[in-house]
C-alpha cells in the first residue's frame, strides 16, 4: 500500500509521559497545518507496564492508524524491542545508545510468550538477546537507527539553564524524543517550540527548559545525522480553523451543549474520563435570551459518582423523571449491571441516555483494549420486550453530534437510548475543522414542565394511549401532573394493572414508538453510504472501524478495485428497507467488525434475510488498521482468501 503520509510512534512505561509527548508531537504538526490521527495503547495497569502512542500525519484527510511505522521514537529498552519490528524499510528508530546492551530478560514487563517469540527471531539471526540485537535486525531490514544520547544532551541543557537536578532534567526525556523526531524530519523548530510553550503555559520554567532542550536536540541531530533521513515534514498553510479533539473529551462537551444536566457514573475504563471531564467543567456558560438580548449566565451540570452502576442507571432515571436530561456512561461490566434498570426505563417510557464505551470483553476481558463486542447485548439488554434506540457513532465528529441526537430521541420517543462508542474512539485524537455547535438542535418532545396546561388537580394520564404511542410527559413536580411509575404493567395513570386488554394496549403503545422513530429519523442519521454506487465490493460495518475502512476504501478505489461502504449508525430501529436494498443489489458484501461473531452481520441477516457470508473480523483488542482492511479486501476480491478473515495485527 502506497502511503502519502507519515506514521510516528512513541512508547514507554505507563506513567512516563508517553501521552504528553505524543500530544506535543501531534499539536506541533497540527499547528503546521497537517492532519493528525493519534491513538494510544496501554495495559490495565497504573505504573510500569508498556504503553505506546501512534501518531499519523498527512496533508490529506486521514482517519485511522496504519500498522507500519515510519519512525519509532524510543527512550526505554522495552519500546525498542517490542516495536522495532513494525518499522518499515527506510524508516527510522530513535533510541538511547546507553540501553543498547540491555538484555531482554531484564525487562520485567515483557510477557514470557512475547519474550520467547523475540528470542526465536534473534536466534534465527544469530543475534544476542539484547536491545542491540533487535535493532540490528531492523538495521538489516533497511531501517535507519538513530542513537540519541539523552542523558548527555540533557546534562548540556542543564548546564545551559542552570538546572542541576538530574530528575528535573530526565523528566524531559520523552519530549526530547519528540524533538529528535522533528529534527530528523527537518520540521520547523519554531512549531515545536510553540507547541511546547502552549503545553507548559502554566509552568514557564519548565517551558523554558524544554525550549532550550529542543534547540540542543535540533543542533545535535543536524550536526550528527544531517539530512540522512529521507522523509521531510513540511508545514502546510491553511486558513481552516482546526481543533485537535480527543475522544474522551468529545462526549462530555457535547453533553454540556445538549442540555444534559445530571450525569451519574461509576468509575470504569475507558468511560470515566468523560464524567471526569464533566465534573471538571460542571459550571457551564449559558447564553440566554433575556428581553431580546443574549445574556451570558451560568448553569451547572451535576455529576454524581455512585456506589455502583446499578445506582448510576437508576439515579439517572430518577433524574430524568424529575425533568433533567440525564445520562450515565459506562463500559461492558457496568453496562451488564444496568440491564434491569434499562428495562424499567423501557416500561416507564423514561428518556434515558446510556453512553456505552465498548472495550475488550467478555467479563473484565481486556479492560484497556478495543473491541466492538456489545452490539447484540445492547440490542437485547434486559428481559422482555421493550423499545429502545441503539445508535453507534463512527468517529469523533459523529460522537459529538450524536449526543444531541441521543437525547432528542430519548425525549421525543420517551425511551432508553444506548449511544455506542468504543475504546478506540475514546483513546484517539484527531484534527477536525472547528465544529459548529449551532448545528445542534434540542428537541424535548412532549415534556411538560411547571404546570399541565388546562389540567385540573387530580391524576394525569401519563401513559395515555395515542396514535403514535407517545404521550405527554410531566416532570415530577409539575402542577396537575401527578401520576405513578411502576415496573409492573400499568394503566394510563401508571397504576399496576394485570388486565390482559390493558396489557396488550400498553405493549403496543410502547412498541409503536419504534415505528414512529423509524419513520421520523432522517436517513442521514441512520446510515452513511460512501463510495461509488455500483462497486465490486460493498463493505458494511458500524462504529469506529469507519475511519480505517474509509482510508482503505480510498486506496482500493484509487487502485481500481471499486469498493463502497455502508455504515450502519442506527441499529435499532433498524433501517431495514434501505439496507436490504443496498445489500441485495451489491455484488459482494463483506461485513467488517471488531468482534468475534460478526454481530452486525447477524442483525442484518435477521432484519433483511440477505445472507451476509463474508466477514473481516478482529478481536485481539487492537483496532483495525486501514492496511489490514485493504489487504483483506483484496484477498477476498481476488478469491485467494476464505470467507472469514481474522485480522491479527497490533502489539
Amino acid at each position: 500500500m502506497e502511503r502519502n503520509d507519515f506514521s510516528w510512534m512513541i512508547g514507554g512505561a505507563q506513567g512516563s509521559g508517553v501521552d504528553t509527548s505524543a500530544i506535543i508531537f501531534a499539536k506541533s504538526a497540527a499547528q503546521g497545518g497537517l492532519r493528525v490521527y493519534g491513538n494510544r495503547e496501554y495495559y490495565s495497569n497504573i505504573k510500569g507496564e508498556h504503553s505506546y502512542f501512534r501518531v499519523r500525519l498527512s496533508k490529506d484527510q486521514i482517519r485511522s492508524h496504519v500498522d507500519t511505522v515510519d519512525m519509532l521514537a524510543t527512550f526505554d529498552d522495552e519500546t525498542a524491542v517490542r516495536h522495532a519490528w513494525e518499522v518499515r524499510k527506510d524508516g527510522a528508530i530513535i533510541y538511547d545508545p546507553s540501553l543498547g546492551s540491555n538484555p531482554i530478560e531484564n525487562i520485567q514487563t515483557i510477557e514470557a510468550n512475547v519474550e520467547s517469540r523475540l528470542y526465536s527471531k534473534l536466534d534465527a539471526n544469530g543475534l544476542p538477546h539484547t536491545v542491540d540485537g533487535v535493532l540490528e535486525i531492523a538495521r538489516r531490514n533497511g531501517v535507519h537507527i538513530y542513537a540519541i544520547p539523552y542523558l548527555e544532551l540533557l546534562k548540556k541543557v542543564g548546564e545551559q539553564v542552570g538546572e542541576t537536578s538530574l530528575s528535573a532534567l530526565t523528566k524531559m526525556t520523552n519530549v526530547m524524543a519528540v524533538a529528535a523526531s522533528f529534527a530528523l524530519l527537518d520540521y520547523p523548530q519554531d512549531e515545536v517550540i510553540n507547541a511546547i510553550r502552549k503545553q507548559f503555559k502554566s509552568k514557564p520554567k519548565a517551558a523554558e527548559m524544554n525550549v532550550a532542550m529542543i534547540a540542543i536536540t535540533y543542533d545535535y541531530v543536524r550536526e550528527k545525522y544531517n539530512g540522512s533521513f529521507g522523509y521531510k515534514l513540511r508545514t502546510i498553510p491553511t486558513t481552516e480553523k482546526r481543533i485537535l479533539l480527543r475522544g474522551s473529551t468529545t462526549i462530555g462537551m457535547a453533553k454540556i451543549l445538549s442540555g444534559c444536566r445530571l450525569q451519574t457514573y461509576y468509575p470504569i475504563t475507558p468511560a470515566s474520563d468523560e464524567s471526569e471531564y464533566l465534573e471538571a467543567h460542571e459550571n457551564i456558560d449559558l447564553e440566554v435570551m433575556v428581553d431580546n438580548e443574549l445574556k451570558s449566565m451560568k448553569g451547572a451540570v451535576t455529576v454524581v459518582q455512585t456506589e455502583d452502576e446499578i445506582a448510576a442507571v437508576t439515579m439517572a432515571i430518577g433524574g430524568a423523571l424529575a425533568g433533567s436530561r440525564a445520562s450515565t456512561s459506562t463500559s461492558g461490566p457496568g453496562f451488564s449491571l444496568m440491564a434491569e434498570g434499562m428495562g424499567w426505563a423501557g416500561i416507564n417510557e423514561v428518556p434515558l441516555v446510556i453512553t456505552l464505551y465498548q472495550r475488550g470483553g467478555p467479563s473484565t476481558g481486556l479492560p484497556t483494549r478495543h473491541e466492538q463486542g456489545d452490539l447484540r447485548f445492547a440490542l437485547h439488554t434486559g428481559h422482555g420486550d421493550f423499545p429502545r434506540i441503539v445508535l453507534a457513532s463512527g468517529d469523533l465528529e459523529e460522537m459529538f453530534f450524536d449526543v444531541t441526537r441521543s437525547f432528542n430521541y430519548a425525549e421525543k420517543y420517551q425511551l432508553p437510548v444506548v449511544h455506542i462508542v468504543d475504546k478506540a474512539m475514546a483513546n484517539s485524537d484527531m484534527t477536525y475543522k472547528m465544529f459548529d455547535p449551532s448545528l445542534a438542535k434540542i428537541e424535548r418532545g412532549l415534556l411538560i414542565k411547571g404546570a399541565v396546561p388546562g389540567h385540573e388537580d387530580g391524576p394525569f394520564d401519563r401513559f395515555k394511549e395515542t396514535a403514535t404511542g407517545v404521550s405527554p410527559r410531566p416532570a415530577i413536580g409539575t402542577k396537575g401532573g401527578i401520576y405513578w411509575n411502576t415496573g409492573d404493567e400499568h394503566d394510563e395513570k401508571g397504576h399496576i394493572s394485570e388486565d390482559p386488554l390493558n396489557r396488550d394496549m400498553m405493549m403496543e403503545k410502547r412498541m409503536r414508538k419504534l415505528d414512529l422513530a423509524a419513520e421520523e429519523i432522517p436517513l442521514e442519521e441512520k446510515v452513511h453510504f460512501f463510495g461509488p454506487k455500483d462497486a465490486q465490493i460493498t463493505l458494511v460495518s458500524w462504529g469506529s472501524t469507519k475511519g480505517a475502512i474509509l482510508d482503505a476504501m480510498e486506496a482500493l478505489n484509487a487502485e481500481g478495485l471499486s469498493v463502497n461502504f455502508l455504515q450502519i449508525r442506527l441499529v435499532q430501529p433498524f433501517p431495514t428497507d434501505y439496507v436490504k436494498d443496498v445489500l441485495s443489489h451489491a455484488k459482494k458484501v463483506i461485513d467488517v467488525e471488531m468482534n468475534y461473531s460478526g454481530q452486525l452481520g447477524g442483525v442484518i441477516r435477521e432484519m433483511t434475510c440477505v445472507p451476509v457470508e463474508r466477514y473481516i473480523v478482529k478481536y485481539n483488542g487492537r483496532p483495525m488498521s486501514s492496511e489490514e482492511i485493504y489487504d483483506a479486501v483484496k484477498k477476498i476480491a481476488d478469491g485467494s482468501a476464505p470467507n472469514r478473515i481474522v485480522l491479527r495485527n497490533g502489539a
Partner: protein, 322 residues
C-alpha cells in the same frame, strides 16, 4: 389551603392482607403529609418492590414504584435533579437491607435531604414469607420450613455505621407516634432513616401485633405490658447540638447502645439526629453556585428553535491548534 387527609389518598385499590401493619404506616404517612401541608404535586414517594413497595400507588402524590432494592438511588436521582421537591423513599426490609444493602450503606455516606421509611416485618412478604435480613438467627416464622439460618441485622446500628444523620424507629400500630416520627424525618435536614416495626400477620407469627402489644408479658396486675416504649418519655435525647465532633461521637455511641435493646423492651423514637453535617445538596451548592436556584430538573436548556443555551465555544477554542 390546608390539605385534608383525603387529598392524599389515591383511589387505587389496596390489596394488602387484612390486618397488615402496612395499613398503619400508610395512615401515618398520609396524616404526616397532610399536617405538613406539602403540595402533593411537589412531592414524590419512591418505593422498592414488595408488599410495602405498593405504597406510592395509594398516595395521591407523584409515585415511583421502582425495582427491588433500588428505591434509594432512584429517589436520590429525583431529589438531586430537583432539590426543591420533597422526596420520601420507602420499602421493605428485604428490599432495603437485603438486595438494597449496598445502596443503603452508600446513601448514608451521601446525606441527601430525604427520608427513608423501612417496613420492617422480618420477612419477604410478597414472595411468600422467606426470611428477611432483619429476622433473627434461629427464628422460625410459620412461613419458614426451617429456622432462619442467618443472623439478623440491626437496622439502626447499620444506619448509624453508614452515616445517616437521623435514625429512628416507629411502630406501625402506634399511628400517631409514627406520624410524628415521619414528620420529623421529613423535616430533618439530611438523610433520615426510619425503621418501622411492621407486623405481617400472614407470614410472621412471631413479631405480631399481639407480641408488640405485650402478649404473654404481664405486669403484676396481669395486664399485658407493651413491648415498645417511647424514647423521649425516658428523657433520652439523641439530638446533636453543636459542631463538636466529640458530641457527635457521644450521641452515636449512645444511639448504638440503645439500639441493642430489642424484645421485651424495645425503644421507639428518635435514636440520633444531627443537622450539623452539610447535606449533599449543600455540598453541591458550594461547588456549583447556581445549583439550588436553577437545579438540573428545572434548568432551561434550549431557546427558540431548539438552540442550546449552553455554549461550548470556549471549550472548543481550548482545543484549537492553529
Amino acid at each position: 389551603m390546608a390539605l385534608k387527609l383525603t387529598d392524599l389518598k389515591s383511589d387505587f385499590h389496596n390489596d394488602w392482607c387484612p390486618g397488615c401493619g402496612d395499613f398503619g404506616i400508610l395512615s401515618a404517612v398520609q396524616m404526616a403529609l397532610a399536617e405538613m401541608n406539602i403540595d402533593p404535586s411537589r412531592m414524590a414517594v419512591v418505593s422498592g418492590i414488595g408488599c410495602s413497595g405498593k405504597t406510592p400507588h395509594f398516595l395521591n402524590t407523584y409515585g415511583v414504584h421502582t425495582l427491588h432494592g433500588r428505591s434509594l438511588p432512584f429517589a436520590t436521582g429525583v431529589k438531586l435533579s430537583n432539590p426543591n421537591l420533597e422526596v420520601i423513599a420507602c420499602g421493605g426490609d428485604g428490599d432495603g437491607m437485603g438486595i438494597g444493602a449496598g445502596h443503603f450503606v452508600n446513601s448514608g455516606r451521601r446525606n441527601v435531604d430525604m427520608a427513608y421509611i423501612v417496613y420492617d416485618n422480618g420477612v419477604y412478604g410478597l414472595t411468600k414469607g422467606q426470611a428477611s435480613p432483619t429476622l433473627k438467627l434461629g427464628m422460625k416464622t410459620k412461613s419458614l420450613p426451617l429456622p432462619n439460618i442467618n443472623q439478623g441485622i440491626n437496622p439502626l446500628m447499620l444506619a448509624l455505621a453508614a452515616g445517616y444523620t437521623f435514625v429512628a424507629r416507629g411502630y406501625a400500630y402506634d399511628v400517631r407516634h409514627l406520624k410524628d416520627l415521619i414528620k420529623k424525618a421529613v423535616q430533618h435536614k439530611g438523610f433520615a432513616f426510619l425503621d418501622v416495626l411492621q407486623p405481617c400477620p400472614t407470614y410472621n407469627d412471631i413479631l405480631t401485633k399481639e407480641y408488640w402489644q405485650g402478649e404473654g408479658l404481664l405486669d403484676a396486675a396481669g395486664r399485658p405490658m407493651p413491648r415498645t416504649y417511647k424514647l423521649d418519655i425516658t428523657g433520652y435525647d439523641g439530638v446533636v447540638k453543636t459542631d463538636d465532633v466529640g458530641e457527635m461521637e457521644e450521641k452515636i455511641k449512645q444511639a448504638m447502645m440503645k439500639s441493642f435493646e430489642f424484645g421485651d423492651r424495645t425503644p421507639i423514637g428518635v435514636f440520633y439526629q444531627n443537622e450539623r453535617i452539610p447535606t449533599y445538596e449543600e455540598r453541591l451548592g458550594a461547588r456549583m453556585p447556581t445549583y439550588r436556584d436553577n437545579p438540573p430538573g428545572e434548568q432551561e436548556i434550549a431557546g427558540q428553535d431548539g438552540r442550546p443555551l449552553a455554549t461550548v465555544q470556549k471549550l472548543l477554542d481550548e482545543l484549537r491548534v492553529n
